[in-house]
Symmetry: C2
Subunit: 341 residues, 2 copies
DNA sequence: CTGAAAGCGCTAACAG
DNA sequence: CTGTTAGCGCTTTCAG
């Protein structure tokens, strides 16, 4: 139904090839012919069929973005960063929600590959899914950039943060604020949660602070999870006076639980999150958090992916670590000395 | 490089068609042959090339989603609703950010059309872009569902809210809470902001409340805009004691401005937002807002689009209005009587 | 500068 | 049950 090149060619009495070249601004077409073609194309409201073009050029100008949760602002910010970089180059984003589930993720990757996307940006749901992805991608050597979470044992492009540093930074900050019973609400499975936990543990060790085993609870990635986890922490005989949280939504949930228990933030329990999502400043208690440069992560990932897609031969995998930064706000400020905000 | 049907066919000494049918579970293939094909396909890690398939079937199983801002939770929630409905049917989402700009939106729609998506869900940036879209879509009769914002003069599928009711509901609520100087921070251009403004005006008229012209200010869609708009309102000689805001981010920004001015919410200025985004409950002051059923909007839009895509002939455009609901929280609760939360 | 031939990987329609 | 023919709309050679 829509106009094809063939239609234009026949209308003008020229060959299909002439039309094809004219439309793509090839040099070896006379200005006169080109104008006629362009004019007729406009009249017919001609739109190139990218499907057909893709079949022969083997480029779709689509990149797949697989994230665990569209609704988590962190990923929305990352997605925006990616878009900002690849959009001007004519790429579009096919987005998939893995819902933090490895099988769903694999299915989505399969589909994306079948769709012949030119590249992939993935925040892997769990480390378990590493094997499948490796097969799916390596075999077809589809350019791929991992974000936010590495995949243990998989040599791949990665853009993210130094998670152990995040954990350390947050924990030491709580200590500096006078907290001595520092707990951690950790994430499930993914490499970043492991790294943050490690940072937390190392900081405690360095500070010679011993805390009960029960001070590490699992409760992520949503604020409801954080809320529940915090309630468990508050129920402990010796409840914590500082909590470092896997991400900002979890921290927001934790704050909710603390306030609901009739306690104060930060006086009774100080809270630190991770990610510095956009609304963390507007929360019930403005949230101290470790900024990961989410938009920057997206941008770097976009840039790197573009480089890979343009390269003739597979590039050596790179690791890009975006600097992190502690943003001190009210949820942890217990001393005069605390700066920032 | 990846395996093709042809490879399987040659390896097995059967025809390409046999492979094609076996792979798609056509009935007229013997179990034995099918098994051989399937086995070889697995060995070669065969993946169907959807581009090639699409070219002949004329279906891409991709739908375009064009929204003004990925980072606004409202649209993230809508997107998730859409995904929930179309995902199980094998459709994937190509997402585009229009950044509230009509030209960007048109460009994106163009690309999406060229990519031959099977359908489109669009939250139009501004009413101005109506004409182009109409051409782009009607001409190629590409199934399309508008969400959140109608396009004046365009007879099209729509899923959204009764915006004048939202405006009325919020305004009357503020009145019931004792506010008598009720202002409105409105959005720019889009039909929904016009509707909400109308609702606000009508409610005032019905209540026989007269307010200065300066009580309607434009400041959307981001929280920064709301913050600035609120500052302007606070600078008025006769400052408002209640403000109805275009959306929740704007309301959050407004609250920020009020508190920063040393005033209290809701005692000095009560605030009502729109959208009931997920984190509105966690805000500095928990936000009273009009819930639009964002996820439901996405789901209905997804369902409707699927119906359109499956239909042989274009369906008559439908309007689906998802019920709205006032959610009363602390930002406006000035009387005992106020219910909900 | 213009065009003819060949084919991307797959499927619809029909024959055997 | 299996295979042949034709072609989706476009681009990449390569000849004029």
């Amino acid at each position: 139904m829509p106009a094809r090149m063939k239609d234009i060619a026949e209308d003008l009495g020229v060959s299909l090839m002439t039309v094809s070249k004219a439309l793509r601004n090839h040099t070896d077409i006379s200005q006169a012919t080109r104008n006629r073609v362009l004019a007729r194309a406009r009249e017919l409201d001609y739109q190139p069929n990218w499907i057909a073009r893709s079949l022969v050029t083997r480029r779709t100008y689509a990149v797949g973005l697989v994230i665990p949760d569209l609704m988590h602002s962190f990923f929305a910010e990352v997605a925006k960063g990616v878009a900002r970089k690849i959009d001007p180059l004519g790429y579009q984003i096919v987005i998939s929600n893995s819902e933090e589930d490895g099988d769903t993720e694999d299915r989505q990757l399969e589909l994306l590959a079948a769709r012949k996307v030119d590249g992939l940006i993935v925040a892997p749901a769990s480390s378990r899914s590493g094997s499948r992805m490796l097969g799916t991608l390596r075999a077809r050597n589809l350019p791929c950039v991992l974000i936010d979470r590495t995949l243990p044992g998989l040599e791949a492009n990665f853009v993210g943060s130094r998670d152990d540093e995040i954990g350390r930074m947050a924990t030491e900050h709580l200590w500096e604020q006078g907290c001595r019973r520092i707990a951690h609400i950790r994430g499930t499975g993914a490499a970043n949660s492991v790294g943050r936990l490690r940072g937390y543990r190392r900081a405690l060790a360095k500070l010679r602070l011993e805390v009960p085993k029960e001070y590490v609870v699992t409760g992520a990635p949503h604020d409801e999870d954080g809320y529940q986890a915090m309630r468990r922490l508050l129920a402990l005989a010796d409840r914590p006076d500082g909590v470092y949280c896997y991400n900002d939504p979890v921290a927001a949930g934790a704050i909710q639980a603390v306030l609901e228990a009739g306690l104060r933030v930060p006086e009774d329990v100080a809270i630190v999150g991770t990610g510095n999502v956009h609304y963390s400043d507007l929360l019930r208690v403005p949230l101290t958090t470790v900024d990961q440069g989410s938009a920057r992560i997206g941008e770097e990932a976009g840039d790197l992916l573009v480089k890979c897609m343009l390269a003739k031969t597979p590039l050596k995998p790179r690791h890009i670590l975006v600097p992190v930064r502690l943003v001190v706000r009210e949820s942890s400020r217990r001393t005069r000395a605390a700066v920032g905000g």
